[in-house]
Subunit: 162 residues, 2 copies
């Protein structure tokens, strides 16, 4: 095997991982859109958070997390941005995070994914384990949002469409 | 950068991806364990499937999917194994799949992750996109299982523990 082959044989490339992350974020965006405005901010099951509160957590993680990975500047996790109970405002914040992530991502070199970091000043891991946490946590809560939607009689978006 | 550096700079290595997959499968196992026996097979919200039915889907995907990736032999997706409404039997099937995946995984070379496949004779993708689908689909349904548990007044396992 030569150097070129070594270079191209990636389990997953950085570009594919970005596409994977943004595909999931796109599906979450459509899940937010599927909620009736009132229930997005009020509906819950078994004492859990509303889907709006879960969404604010997701917004506090992905954009700021990638920013911290790129800049090296740590800031505490912040899940509270003023949204005035407006889904439109939250979707706008979502789209801004999408752009922010697309802009920052190419600044993460392949070598950096295995680097140790302390995200938000408290979560130990590597860059790749942190990014997987962002994705997995989003899938986890969105799955919960799907149950909320079903319990409201609303059809969720198709899971396999990104 | 020399050839060695090229070879070692992986966004995620195959070994790490296996650990990631099995960490998620371990958390799902603890989620199954957390369910009261009766409700595992009967409880549902909003007309959705029981967590037992979702679990049988997961069992139909991960082990058989990795087997197909390794062997190249396609078989239709099968979500129906006789379990006699016994959680113990399903946990036994789960552990067998864990062993099967651990045994088969090292036979997937790094180069193969980007290979195109038609999984279960019907799902187009690459080896890596298929494996991510296994993981993401499991996280998605387990998140739903967490809502079922909360609605039953049962504390789910910690999401961050694998």
């Amino acid at each position: 095997m030569n150097a070129t082959a070594n270079k191209t044989a990636q389990v997953i490339s950085s570009e594919e991982l970005l596409k994977h992350l943004q595909g999931h974020r796109n599906l979450t965006r459509r899940t937010i859109e599927a909620f009736p405005e009132k229930e997005f901010f009020s509906h819950s099951i078994g004492g859990m958070r509303t889907f709006a509160e879960m969404t604010m957590e997701l917004l506090g993680i992905a954009g700021p997390g990638i920013q911290e990975i790129v800049s090296g500047k740590s800031a505490p996790l912040d899940e509270h941005v003023e949204h005035g109970n407006s889904k439109e405002k939250i979707l706008q914040l979502w789209d801004e995070a999408t752009e922010q992530i697309n802009t920052l991502w190419p600044q993460i070199s392949t070598e950096r994914f295995q680097e140790n970091i302390l995200l938000f000043g408290m979560y130990e891991g590597t860059v790749i384990s942190s990014i997987f946490y962002f994705i997995d946590n989003e899938i986890h809560h969105r799955g919960q949002g799907f149950v909320y939607l079903r319990s409201l009689g609303v059809e969720p978006p198709a899971f396999y469409e990104r």
